[in-house]
Symmetry: D2
């Protein structure tokens, strides 16, 4: 009876968009492509799904699609497009996330309680912002400053697009949690279980060597990067090894079978408190099914596939797994530092060519490694896509880090406290959003992201 909103209807997309991959190449093309991908992600949702905030870390889909528009309105249109009029001035209050310098904002805890504007009205808001953004981008193109490497306004647009891509990933992780919270466990996109488990034979874990010495890490040169990836700088590293692939469900099940969740000596003190308080027994979304385990995915509840990378583990679990692995499997095993990860990954190919599972595939679940993987000449496999990889590094500024001036400077720097860095990208990340120097970060107990484990060890 209720015809569900189909957001892509309004974007006469003759061919299905890929996640933010611009066919042509102008900034306007890229703008259209990124914005359209948000709508593709929302296609499977019914109106009710857009409203709910199922836990502290989650935001309603409606909020995500409004907030990403608010970003362009606040930081691009209002200051830079003469005569721009907001569709509703109160939206600035409702859809600001945490930018203190951008004015008062609605309490995060109440995001899931706002029924109006409706989903349809928020799509109208998006259309209003898009119309004006495209007008502005046309001006930039005429003026020849639509290359983000040169124009500061174009750079701001590029930041907004990367911001939207981050929220695209959150739309997926958040709606997964929302749907799982429902005892009926509805699927986002039903999937054939047969398509789920990949990789028939296990792939041996190999190690990529890092030589002792001073290495350079961090972003430099052209191409977009967030401020927290700069400046490129030197770090002294001891000789070390980084695992050639991710830890699999089969390996993680060994840890569980060996009492992993019941042995305090494997856990950080704060981790053990959480394990007991939350009664953790397995990764998030896992539940017992007969003698084995099933896991809730965006394609519905499916058996845990042994060869797939373990996913939805916290830093605490990744760290405990590594301590266990050092005792039981690989002497000296631990998590890599973010510098070790980056140095090891630098020898592999770029994210744009990686074999991993990105959001673009619309699988939305990590896949088993292909038969040929391993630490070959190209370095470790499974670096990008599938799951983010927890590192042993707390998230602090690089030497010489300077956040941008003004409210935009609140983007990253003010969160550099008590978080842990993750590297790589996940099956919810658009491929064009992944890169070598990317620093993702979450608190140690976080599990609702597509986060997994890559090991490292001393030389």
């Amino acid at each position: 009876m209720l015809p569900n909103v189909t957001p892509t209807d309004r974007y006469d997309a003759p061919t299905a968009p890929r996640a933010g991959r611009a066919p042509g190449g102008t900034l306007a093309d890229r703008y259209r492509a990124v914005r359209a991908w948000t709508h593709v992600l929302c296609e499977p949702l019914v109106t009710e799904d857009y409203v709910v905030r199922s836990m502290h870390d989650v935001s309603p889909t409606k909020w995500h699609i409004a907030h990403t528009s608010w970003f362009f309105e606040t930081f691009v249109l209002s200051p830079h497009l003469p005569g721009y009029r907001p569709i509703n001035p109160r939206y600035a209050y409702l859809f600001n996330s945490y930018y203190v310098q951008a004015g008062e904002r609605h309490c995060r805890a109440q995001r899931g309680l706002v029924t109006r504007p409706t989903v349809a009205e928020v799509y109208d808001y998006r259309a209003h912002v898009d119309e004006h953004m495209l007008r502005l981008l046309a001006h930039l193109a005429e003026a020849g400053v639509d290359d983000p490497a040169f124009g500061s306004l174009a750079a701001l647009v590029e930041l907004g697009l990367n911001h939207e891509q981050q929220h695209q990933e959150l739309i997926l992780t958040d709606i997964k949690h929302v749907l799982w919270t429902n005892p009926l466990r509805p699927a986002y996109l039903p999937r054939n279980a047969a398509a789920h488990s990949g990789g028939s034979a296990p792939v041996a874990l190999d190690w990529a060597a890092i030589p002792e010495g001073v290495h350079e890490v961090g972003h430099a040169g052209a191409g977009f990067a967030f401020d927290n990836e700069s400046p490129r700088h030197r770090q002294f590293l001891e000789a070390a090894r980084v695992a050639s692939r991710l830890v699999t469900n089969a390996e993680y099940l060994e840890f569980m079978a060996d009492g992993g969740y019941h042995r305090p000596e494997l856990w950080l003190s704060a981790a053990w408190d959480v394990v007991r308080a939350e009664q953790w027994e397995a990764p998030l979304y896992w539940e017992r099914e007969g003698d084995g385990w099933a896991t809730f995915t965006l394609g519905g509840t499916l058996p845990v596939a042994p060869a797939e990378p373990v996913c939805h583990v916290s830093f605490f679990e990744a760290d405990a797994y590594a301590r266990w692995a050092a005792l039981a499997r690989w002497s000296g095993a631990r998590l890599p530092t973010e510098a070790e990860w980056e140095v090891a990954a630098a020898s592999a190919g770029p994210a744009s060519d990686a074999a991993g599972t990105f959001a673009d595939s619309q699988r939305f679940h990590p896949a088993a490694i292909g038969g040929a993987a391993g630490a070959g000449a190209g370095g470790p496999a499974q670096l990008y896509g599938d799951v983010w990889q927890w590192t042993a590094s707390q998230y602090t500024p690089y030497p010489g880090f300077r956040p941008a001036a003004g409210a935009i400077g609140e983007y990253n720097g003010k969160f550099m406290c008590d978080q842990w860095v993750l590297r790589g990208a996940s099956c919810a990340t658009p491929r064009t959003h992944a890169r070598l120097t990317y620093r993702n970060f979450f608190p140690a107990a976080t599990r609702w992201q597509f986060s997994g484990i890559r090991l490292a060890a001393g030389a």
Copy 2:
């Protein structure tokens, strides 16, 4: 773009239904009328409104309309209609409120997190239940036992209809809170402010006398009543007086102006803790507007009208107001006990003839008393409709009270602890749901109901 669900479309109602007033008189007629009124109340809502739970006491509209159907399905159809098949067996889990003996139920705290079944699917569920209920009621009519006074199954249906009427009131009180929680403060049904303030001149407060002696209170005889209204029994009352009308906003503003919210000696100890913790300064939904006060109503934010009854006050505030009034206005003033209220009201006409504002009027806001009110021969005015009236009685069982057997026995009795009785009815109550012996009850700090104040005093 999103055509909003219009639930009454499916009920070919040639004339607008009145709140549960059956035109004809069979139980099936009454069933249709009560169920249709729920849909009338939902007419102004958009899909998003149905999903949200804005605080602990609130349930989403979607839950209300499903739960009331669950009640008929669980207690009437499943045990009594041979071959009845639920549309979805999981709904029994999702939509049970608190009936322990009716099986496991979904955690109340998560009611606002369930996006599926969708609103449309819940309306399908209602239609499924209605179809089978009407089939069953036809059987009852054929068998001549559709009079609730005679048939136990008919009595169960009547209980289900009264249950639905309670949830109709909750739909209104809950959606009012949901809409108010939204900083945009959307109206449920916009109303002209001019229509808001009624009663040009203040009406003097008079008193109805209650003679000393043994009085009878409680329900007896034919006609529906909840189990907690029985048995009818005797109580000794000292001579007393009950106010002829409700306390007005103008009178309550005097209390506020006299420092009412800042004088601990006027408050119960537990009340004072709440006043400070919640920083109460006025009734719920009031906010300062210039030098005066405005109040959020289902018709939008409107100025506080002096002659209207004060509304959305807790027992704590009603009690503090009475203490203040005893010092400042009417010596000996206090709240009436529920027995005093009932004895005083027994001398007035029945609720079915009362002049008060019921949900039927779709005003959804209390109105000022008409010019002619006062304690005439007919007893006190404003007894029913407008606002529920807090009493000085905690909610305990009547002597000889016995709850019904089975899960239905959980309806009332198990809540007889730390609640306070309210009498009368409010502007959100269907008129056919109000009666002399009705015992409403809520905790002392409750404010989101349409609750107000009637005073009493010693002789």
Copy 3:
């Protein structure tokens, strides 16, 4: 090494004082006797015991002995003894409990964090107050107005003494909880387990009849009573029966063995929430010992004695037990209302002659009924002493109740919300503090008082 404070050293008591029983009869005699009993109760304590607050309801012993002195200082000495100088003006802030009109006070939550004044300094404070009180009482005696029935100042002193007796009971209930919180479970006064279990044979439960009609309840006439016991007034009661004795541990163990703590249908809704949240399985202080149960007492941990009255149960447990008993043992069983209790008890002898266990005996634990008990001509047994008895009455004001003027008026009235009345007295109550019309009251989940169960039933 640390010579423990022995508070009675300073009171040259040639013979051991009995709990507030004045040998002679002047108000000064009674003052000395009551105050000395507080010190007797503190004899077994070490300094460290005085400081701790083991849970929300508990106050440190040091606070109790200071607060009772503060009461005399604030309400008697400062206003009525010309030239009185407090030993330390800050004590008025530290030792005010909840009298808002007596000035600012220290947060209750921090009572257990105050190390100075030391215990010795608080005893100095007591001595200072005593010295001036006895001077004042000598003046009153000279003026011939030291009879509380005639002099308002003498009445205030009498109130202070009754207040101190209440805190004497709290000193015992609170230190019991403090010592039990300690995993070493130290005893207050070690006792021989053999002396513990009394009453060889079970005593049959009989019933005392209450006739239908208008009864008078409440305090009137001479003799001290708290304001909440007045005025004496009429109540209509249906014919009923009140049990001749208390419910025993043996009977309560039957309830437990019959799944009492696991059957939601026996519990009020709020009760069931507490049972699950707190994982109640037995009365407070009980713990499994082999196949049976032991209980922590002020005399140490002892086996649960079958014939002793069940103790340390909440209203919730008393109510659930009664529901179970109605099904399993005595049809129609329930808790008595406070009026029923008082009418039944009025036919028995006064508390001053009762056979029960009072604090005076220094047993500090309820005892089994003597062989001869039962509902004889003298009415029910075990009315006073042993355990307080939960009633089915919420604590509300009597018709016509008026609290005293000023801060003293905060004594009782402001707590008349969401509490339940207990009647009788316990093994921690001084005998001179017990009487027919006494209204004790606590919230429904309270268990650290010596509280038990007496049943009632319809006629």
Copy 4:
């Protein structure tokens, strides 16, 4: 009346002990000296002071003096002294802090609720442990293995002594909080206010340069160090500067006067949440006094002395101050990393010769810098003593870090999550406990330690 326990009475100390400074030099001498210093610190306390836990981070003094004995009993005596019998086997449960592998332990939250064993009994426990420890140390000396550099048992004793010194610092920081929580604000050791403010003239802030390159940090060689200070390893540092002295109260007052606590742009996001939730306006223990500020010290409440180092600030405040200073005073100012601090401090003299204020002086409050300080040839001043210095480094393991085997391995490593490193030492640290490579660590919001600020900047 209550003769207070004077713990040093039992140690016939002819001369006042200095904080853990052993006159002679054997391990037994050092053991006696360190243990005696604990007793010196407890001298000013009354029995009641020993019992209280005023907030989450605080432990009662009684617990500290028992726990430090438990450490020797559990890790030294029980495994290594044949025939050793604990004075009370339950103490192992009561006084274990967090060593999961050493058995079950009493809940930290309940430490402040234990009245027995009494303080005197805990001193008996200490004496029992001391007697056996000295017997064991005599054996070690006879065997010639009492040098911690050679004997593993001697190393364990040395660890126990360093552990006790950490708790000596906590005894001071905790009792300061306990006494401050008391509204009477009693002093630990009253001090003349005149003696309080030191340093007549302000000392200019200078900078010590760190050259770009690979530096070595961490502990190596002989001498005691905790496991977390190893292994010594290389780090690449950019050229930088470290301030020659600590930030003073006068400088911090400028930050406050410039709106420091009200400017969100100066604070980390998590910090700003705390500032608002806790309503921070100044360092802990500061309160307004007239137009200025006073601060509670172990010597009582004294005016804030402008030339003294600011103290009792959190990492959050240190970080916000540095951001402000970069804008307002010293361009590029920030907190030093722990490696920068260590490299800068390595060029100064050892802690054993430092001019700073240690616990040994019994001043227990930081002092203004002497007139001659500054970044001379000897490197920065005020490195050790006075206040711990927050660094920009989260507390993570050094490359190659391996915790010890068994329960002792829980000492440091399991806390390496979401803490920040502090370097130096404070006025509550025994001088013999301070050293160049020491890594102290606390969560970012911690303020009850003697913690202050040293700035750094790029080259």
